[in-house]
Amino acid sequence: MTPAATEPDDDNSVKMMDYFMQLEYREPLCPVVRRYADQLLEGRLIGHQCPSCGLVYLPPRGYCPICVVETTDADETVLSDRGTVTNYTVVTPVQYYGQHETEPFVRASVTLDGGNATMNLQDLVDVPVDEVRVGMRVAAVWKPKGERSVADISNRSWGSAEGCIDGWRPTGEPDAPAEQFLGKATF
């Protein structure tokens, strides 16, 4: 714990103290996430397709939790970087400690073309918050190759491509019918 500066009270005596408890830890990426991160740097989204049920997991987990079977490099599949908004939340930021956003923003679930693989908590770019809708067609906005970073990819950031994809931009294609996404669980 590191004591930070104290705040003098109005009688100019010290009555309060800011106190930061900080935990910092480092962890190695597990092999399947390491491979996912390396492929992100190359501009590819990869997943594992369960050999039993066919569901695709992105990033690969090395197993299908539904079938309880292991998945390996042999089950790897390259996924599309285009997809459809299948759910979203408008976040109105409260200025708590660590919140850097000041204006309402969207976090969307994007189901990638060709399967069930869905990336959650994705940023949308070049679209006003009130125009976002389920069914909207979007494409990944990749950072230039030299600017990509996987420093924030962790073993638990399932579906994240932060540091490699700036967000998802509407393609202008006609919407996919929203009904086909509603009431469905995504993986």
Partner: protein, 142 residues
């Protein structure tokens, strides 16, 4: 490898003893409190650690010099340590105190540290009212 940092920001109230103690540090004084037996506790406490009795708050200024009772050399300080170069953590019994204060001694070299040595407070120019407002140096170097 990925690095995670979790921070919990708290603001603590300091109370009737630590508040004045840190106010004293900000103003360049080290304060202790006198217990019922007349012993001077530094750092000051709200309760007597020997008996558990509440302390009648009676501040006494101590130091700024004192005697090292025991010490440990820190060869590789981390960024959370009070000094950014090797130093000693020492129990320092300040002049006028009956208990020892844990603090940093900036001795330059482990060879200059010994139990029983005299040290004196070195104050920061800009003080915020916390324990790192001061550190200690060997008296002959002051």
């Amino acid at each position: 490898m990925t690095t995670h940092t979790i921070e919990f920001p708290y603001t603590r109230t300091l109370g009737p003893v630590i508040g004045p103690f840190l106010t004293g540090l900000r103003d360049g004084h080290v304060l202790g409190v006198r217990n019922r037996d007349g012993r001077v506790l530094v750092p000051p406490l709200e309760w007597d650690p020997a008996t558990g009795e509440a302390i009648d708050v009676d501040f006494v200024e101590v130091g700024p010099a004192g005697t090292v009772e025991t010490w440990a050399w820190v060869t590789e300080p981390t960024r959370k340590h009070p000094l950014d170069h090797p130093f000693a953590f020492a129990l320092i019994r300040l002049d006028g105190a009956d208990t020892a204060l844990l603090h940093a001694v900036d001795a330059g070299s482990m060879d200059r540290m010994r139990t029983g040595m005299r040290v004196v407070a070195r104050w920061k120019d800009e003080r915020a009212g916390h324990i790192t407002d001061l550190s200690f140096v060997p008296e002959e170097a002051a």
